[in-house]
Amino acid sequence: MTPAPLSGFIVGYSIIALAFSIHLFATYRSGSSSKILIFTSLLNTALSIWLSSRLSNDIVQGSISATFSMLSLSSLLASFVMLKITMNRVPGSS
């Protein structure tokens, strides 16, 4: 039984490893892409996916769900950034 924090860690690690492998394949260009990087990235992704496939389904879903919930704070952050941009660009403000 994997502890919940470790499970969450593996989930986060797997997500970024998979996204990087997809990125490498999507931007592949013959003669320009590093074969060692692609191979090591695929190995890294396969290992992390294998580890995450052994985790409890509830913990995996709970971790992803909590992360998406925390993502909602980014809307608040974005609104502060947009407020600063809007205030800086009001005609006659500078």
């Binding site: 919940a4 924090p5 470790l6 969450g8 860690f9 593996i10 989930v11 986060g12 690690y13 797997s14 997500i15 970024i16 490893a17 996204a19 990087f20 997809i22 990125h23 394949f25 999507a26 931007t27 260009r29 013959s30 003669g31 320009s32 590093s34 074969k35 060692i36 990087l37 090591t40 990235s41 890294n44 992390s48 496939s53 985790l55 409890s56 389904n57 509830d58 995996v60 879903q61 709970g62 971790s63 992803i64 769900s65 909590a66 992360t67 998406f68 919930s69 925390m70 993502l71 909602s72 704070l73 809307s75 608040l76 974005a78 609104s79 947009m82 941009i85 809007t86 660009r89 005609p91």
Partner: protein, 192 residues
Amino acid sequence: MSTPLPAIIGGAICVASLSWNRMGPAYLRRRIAPSTFIIGLILILSWDFDSKITDDFLCSFYDSCGTSDLSSVLRYTAIWLALLVSGVALALNGAGSYGDYSIPSLSVGWIMILASVILSLVFHPSGLLTVDTLIKSLPVIVGIMIGLLSIIGLTALSENFEPPLPPAPGLDDDERDAMLSILAKHLGGGGE
């Protein structure tokens, strides 16, 4: 459509299209990135959100069935994120960052941003954000950070073990035409 497989494929397509979007305008892949991203989004949203994810193949895949609010959280995230991105684009445009100062565009943009903030923070399917949610998400965020560090390590490793790559191959005819049209559009129009 009850299995999340199309949604997973859609997510992968979205990641690929975002990568293509960073490739530069000369590449064909860059030019089809926006439409591919929309296809990915459609695949994600085509997932029947009323069907719990644990009723699908993932249940047997992980050999642990139960209930989860993941599908409703994903749906809410898609809605407030779409509102936020559209609102920010409109507000940036109206604030004069990418065009003339425009009160209507700015107003509509801000209404959408505020709606996104309210939707994401107040009407969240799991209720208001709690310390428990923060604690549960921390290991995932740490995992993402460590994953990014490992990517930097892998890149450094591959650069050390591989001889320097030859210069990138030249652009093909289509890519050259695309570059010429972009240059002509930006440099040749006003005699500047």
